[in-house]
Amino acid sequence: MSNAISQRVADFLKEHEPFNYLPYEDLIQIANTIRVINLEKHKSLFQINDVLHDSFYVVASGVIHLTVISDAEETLLNKCYAGDIFGLRPFFAKNNYQMTAKAREESIIYAIPIATFKPFVAQNVEVLNFLLESFAVNTKNSLDSQNNGLMSDSVGYSDNQSDMMYFQSLSYNKAPLKISSEIAIKDAAQLVTENMVDSAIIIDQSYPIGIVTDKDFRSKVATGRFPLSNSIDKIMASPVITVTENISVAEAQLVMLKHSVSHLCVTHDGTDKSEVKGIISEHDLVVAQANNPGVLLKEIKRSQTSKELKLVRDKLTDIIQSSINKNIPLTHINSIAGEITLAIIKRAVEQSILDLGSPPARFAWLSIGSQGRKEQLLLTDQDSILVFEDVSAEKYRDVKDYFLKLAKKTTSTLEKVGFAACPQGHMASNMLWCKSLTDWTKQYNSWMNTPGENSNEISSVFFDYEMAFGEQKIEDAITETIFKNAKNNVLFFDYLGNDALKKPTPLNFFKKFNVEEDGENKGKFDIKTRALMPLIDGARLLVMSNNIKGINNTYLRYKQLAMVDPKFSEVYLNCADSYLVLSKFRAAEGLKNDSSGQYINMDELNKVDKEKLKNALAPMRELEELIKDRFQLTQFS
């Protein structure tokens, strides 16, 4: 029987995997058995060790977080959005739930009874594969492969990997130990030991016919069931499970689970009637899943499309998240994230050049703003400028044209990667910010010598920059211009000082947080404008007035200031610490909600965190006083 609602639900399901593999009539039939659940924010659907439900779940709207408890801490495994399925355990296992499903925001969930869905799984291979993969991704359980039954009882959680992590290709031992079948067990064991491996492939005319692993020596030889003098083919496992080259982590894991083996033999065409190319062990899978910035950098360099770059950026988010969870110092995370983001931008420029042909003049692509300071943890917006060397007047138009095209291409690549376009248009693709070195020099001269005259909005982001791609000399020239102009330029510093102090204060008269009064972020605390920006602006101002070059990072700027200006070193050091604490709050908020983290939801902070945040805001007053003392701020106020 079909009714308006089951049609509506079926329409929704057919847009999503694995339901899109099923015909519409089946979906109607499934929809008719669905129960709809409304889950209030922070309510959980099931918890670790709850008895299995008789259904699995599809998110209709809202966000569900899947978490495990490890070391008494709640760790996020996965976020499920509209159309995502979760709670698949009842399909594959009999024991209780191994994770908690909790609504991150008010959610509507479709519960699909296992009993109705099972026949469709059995009939449809694609659906089965999808469920298996989803289950593997949602649990990441290496122990599950040991018992023959698909899933054992513990969740081996490994630090929050994205699903994509699973689909990277796998590196494995490409020179496995190959031995012939006549060799004695003792000699084989000797070879395995000498080669420091844990397995050997037995070959017959370069085709694999069997495999021996440590386990075989242990269970079949050490137990005395076979004497040492027997030939190796008596104890080998045969046939070997073979796979093709370039297998993904997910696939390899599935094959291991399916056959309950710990090693896979890689052959030329994936059958056991072709040449052996390597061996994949469970250990390789573990290694492949470790997040490794070095690997990411390599992947960036190899990438050909914006899509590939996006995958890398997604992985970076995972690294940042797990690093923050592990309490790795934020300065360290910042520098790793900064390097990777820089590499992404660089590669984006390279990809554009590959597309457009080589540039007609030398140029520099400078990242400005947060990336210029290497403080970009979250996917915030992109800011950049492009400076090209001076060319003769008749060539100027063509050259500018080329660079504008290049910039447009690059910014759109970066947008696809996830860096939103700058709302103020501070991007190299903007005519204004893509020009020759002479024009840029003029621009900086006019900004710095006559601030507030031509435009009130000289954006301070232009004074934090880092070269992502191009000619080092050009960057140096810009730096020189800025510092030449900065020397004894009272007017300019006063302007910046005013700008820095103009930001709204974080705490009100009663030492309560000043939260947003209206708009969609009502009741939240704007940590970016009220706390981080004043610190960043203050650092930039003081560094420039002290003629400190080459340090772009806010934290390091304060550290450096403490050294060159020892009289106020305490203020500077406090500001440096505050900056780290505040950025951490912002990063945590951003990761939790997939946002830029600008607005902190105060209701979600516990008392300790609130105090911590408040304490971090304290040094701002001292900084403010210091700036007021040092510069004459009256000229612009």
């Binding site: 029987m1 009714n3 308006a4 609602i5 089951s6 049609q7 509506r8 639900v9 929809a31 008719n32 058995t33 669905i34 129960r35 709809v36 659940i37 409304n38 209030e40 309510k43 709207s61 008010e106 509507i108 519960a111």
Partner: protein
């Protein structure tokens, strides 16, 4: 004054006796109901379609729905209104007596949930009277009243669309009484958990 005596002597139809007997037990089932009528006067206007969906244990059962359109030939003819739109709708069609009987059987002793449900109850009571039945015995909950209670609002009224917007319930292109009933059911679940009703 002695009207009730008349009722006693009158023989009720079989389905009605069956219905009243269900009330010996208490139900944990809710039925979210939406009616389409020709107007707002229970004495003159008639029901054009029913859409209902059941809620049990805080979950909406998609399979447990009720949708019937009533092509009110006589009423529409008398008032010179065309009924093409009803005939073309995808909902199954029944004449009024059969539709009412089917609905009463579907409803049973469940608690009714609706938006301005008392009007709906009045409409059904009018139709029941024509079939020589008594009045509905079901308890009824109104989501508009629940919402006002939640926020302690006295004098403002909220349409179903307004409520759906307030709770960010996605809109659909299809507009039938069944869709409305589904929206009401979702609103009911959200309000119920917020009001901590058991």
């Amino acid at each position: 004054m002695l009207d009730w005596l008349k009722n006693i002597s009158k023989e009720h139809p079989e389905f009605w006796k069956n219905y009243t007997s269900k009330f010996e037990k208490k139900s944990n089932r809710y039925v979210s109901l939406s009616l389409e009528t020709t107007g707002l006067n229970p004495n003159k206007d008639v029901i054009l379609s029913f859409g209902a969906i059941a809620v049990v244990n805080d979950t909406i059962l998609i399979g447990d729905t009720f949708e019937i359109a009533i092509p009110q030939y006589k009423y529409l003819h008398d008032n010179g209104i065309t009924n093409d739109f009803l005939l073309e709708s995808a909902q199954p069609k029944l004449a009024e007596p059969a539709a009412i009987e089917a609905f009463i059987n579907y409803l049973g002793n469940a608690t009714l949930v609706g938006h301005r449900i008392h009007f709906d109850v009045e409409m059904i009571n009018e139709a029941l009277e024509k079939l020589a039945c008594g009045r509905l015995k079901n308890e009824a909950l109104d989501i508009e009243i629940m919402y006002k209670k939640l926020h302690d609002i006295g004098d403002k009224n909220f349409s179903l669309d307004e409520l759906a917007n307030l709770f960010k319930i996605p809109k659909t292109e299809r507009i039938s009484t069944t869709d409305d009933a589904f929206t009401i059911a979702l609103l009911f679940l959200k309000l119920k958990s917020r009001l901590k009703l058991q």
